[in-house]
């Protein structure tokens, strides 16, 4: 049920990254689908030292009348960090960062889901970061897609996310926590891998347009690799080849 990627051998070693990775090398990745009993769908993901759990409930009746949509389902997300997931204990409950990521995650996943099939319903996605080591919003989106698939929610594609950025003057794939904090720029990206369309895009730091384009390409390359692991996780859960 567990898959490990170490694509360290895929590329030449021209790296000066602190953890020894090549510029276009992902951290080790494991994805497992169907890890919770109660949720309609779930997935557990380890990505480097990130440990993320995603669960899906729905489509189900949406009881907050003010927010329901008469012609489609509302995809709601709650991204949350466990108090013990970070160096200094985080106070429980939502903060501004998690509210923003929840909104972006919802927007990143919505384009792939056939929401119009479920009017007046909600599809609820819960993401719990159990351990954080840089890139948790991307890890959360990637895990949530697998959980949506595990829940049998009809989708156009399985959204996948990966960051790229710049650190030590080099444009690199999949920033670690250290590279995120100390680096020059961070570009989290989510795509629908079939079409390459972008459903999440943020940037902070300082980049030229060319550097940004390189980072975007690297992020999409990372997404494509991770996408394979998402599919394997679903296959491992449900069989088929």
């Amino acid at each position: 049920m567990i898959t490990i990627i170490t694509n360290r051998d895929l590329e030449a070693k021209n790296s000066e990254r602190p953890d020894g990775r090549a510029y276009n090398e992902l951290r080790p990745l494991k994805i497992e689908a169907g890890v919770l009993e109660r949720a309609d769908g779930s997935a557990y993901l380890e990505f480097g030292d990130n440990k993320v759990l995603a669960a899906v409930y729905g489509p189900r009746e949406f009881h907050i009348r003010r927010f329901l949509k008469p012609n489609m389902a509302v995809l709601r997300c709650r991204y949350n960090m466990a108090p013990f997931s970070v160096e200094d204990r985080k106070r429980p409950g939502p903060d501004r960062r998690s509210l923003e990521i929840s909104k972006l995650t919802s927007e990143a996943l919505s384009p792939a889901v056939f929401l119009e099939k479920f009017p007046r319903s909600s599809i609820d996605v819960f993401i719990e970061v159990l351990q954080a080591e840089g890139g948790t919003r991307c890890a959360g989106i990637t895990a949530a897609s697998v959980a949506l698939a595990d829940a049998g929610i009809p989708m156009r594609d399985m959204v996948v996310a990966c960051a790229a950025g710049k650190a030590n003057g080099q444009v690199i794939m999949d920033l670690s926590e250290w590279e995120d904090k100390e680096g020059e720029a961070d570009v989290p990206v989510a795509i629908m891998p079939r079409t390459g369309e972008i459903t999440l895009l943020q940037m902070d730091g300082q980049l030229t347009k060319d550097e940004f384009e390189q980072a975007l390409d690297l992020a999409k390359e990372g997404c494509m690799k991770i996408s394979e692991e998402q599919k394997k996780a679903i296959k491992n859960r449900y069989g088929g080849d």
């Binding site: 919770l36 009993e37 109660r38 466990a82 013990f84 997931s85 719990e128 351990q131």
Partner: protein, 265 residues
């Protein structure tokens, strides 16, 4: 709060239990499968993932240096918190802890506190000014009944797993040495055993379905020396004294099994 159980299920489950059997094939005094892993969260000072059946809790212990409570200036601070995550059950809502979550935290906390499990005096650094604060955070991931026993077992395991930095005091300043980690000062161990009253029977480790039909529940915290250190009745129907005494016997017997899951000190 509890899922509503159809009357027919209530009857069939009760009838089965009256015959000494349970829907999932267990004996009345048998736990579901238990698994306990420690050291699963590197960023936490201590951690444990505990499963009892499909009920699953992730527990992290964090330490930080802070001010003592004014009325206990010479001992460390210890806090237990739990979150019934909305992922754990379809009817759990996000938001501040509700009364179930508060009860879960407080019962777990009392077992540890009143059982004198942690030597809080050793967590004082500068008396009246600086002490270690120990946080136990319990993240309920999957709710399939009997959170109390899972929480108590997992919290105990996470405490035993915890390593905190060595802190020394020089000239009224605290020096924290992350290179030299040391275990928490623990005096004892405690775990908890919950019995549900269904019909006129006591059944150990109620499943979600059994919780839905139980008349009442009694949870009993026991130390490894056999002392009872906490007890909590729940549910909207009464117990008779004899049932409580029987439950204590069962708890003192069954907690021996639970202690086996804890790391060897």
């Amino acid at each position: 709060m509890q899922p509503i159980v159809p009357e027919i299920t209530r009857e069939s489950v009760t009838n089965l239990i009256n015959e000494g059997k349970r829907a999932d094939g267990r004996k009345l005094d048998q736990y579901r499968e238990i698994s306990l892993e420690t050291g699963v969260i590197k960023k936490a000072e201590g951690s444990a993932r505990v499963k009892i059946g499909n009920t699953q809790i992730m527990i992290g212990v964090k330490s930080q240096i802070g001010d003592p409570f004014p009325d206990t200036p010479n001992v460390g601070v210890f806090m237990t918190n739990s979150e019934l995550l909305p992922m754990a059950a379809p009817n759990f809502e996000p938001g501040p802890p509700d009364e179930r979550s508060v009860e879960l935290s407080r019962v777990t906390d009392r077992g540890i506190r009143e059982g004198k499990i942690i030597d809080l005096k050793k967590l004082a650094l500068i008396p009246g000014k600086k002490v270690w604060m120990i946080f136990i955070d319990m993240h309920i991931l999957d709710y399939d009944g009997n959170l109390l026993d899972a929480a108590a077992l997992g919290a105990m395991a996470a405490l035993m797993d915890a390593k905190i930095p060595t802190a020394t005091v020089k000239d009224d300043e605290v020096v924290v040495d992350h290179e030299n980690m040391q275990p928490l000062p623990l005096n004892e161990k405690t775990v908890m055993c919950t019995l549900a009253k269904i019909g006129n029977n006591l059944v150990l480790d109620p499943s979600l379905e059994e919780e839905g039909i139980m008349r009442a529940r009694i949870s009993i915290g026991v130390r490894s020396d056999g002392a009872i250190c906490s007890m909590q009745k729940g549910g909207e129907r009464p117990f008779e004294k004899e049932e409580i005494l029987k439950a204590i016997d069962m708890a003192q017997e069954k907690t021996k099994e639970l202690f086996e899951y804890l790391p060897k000190a």
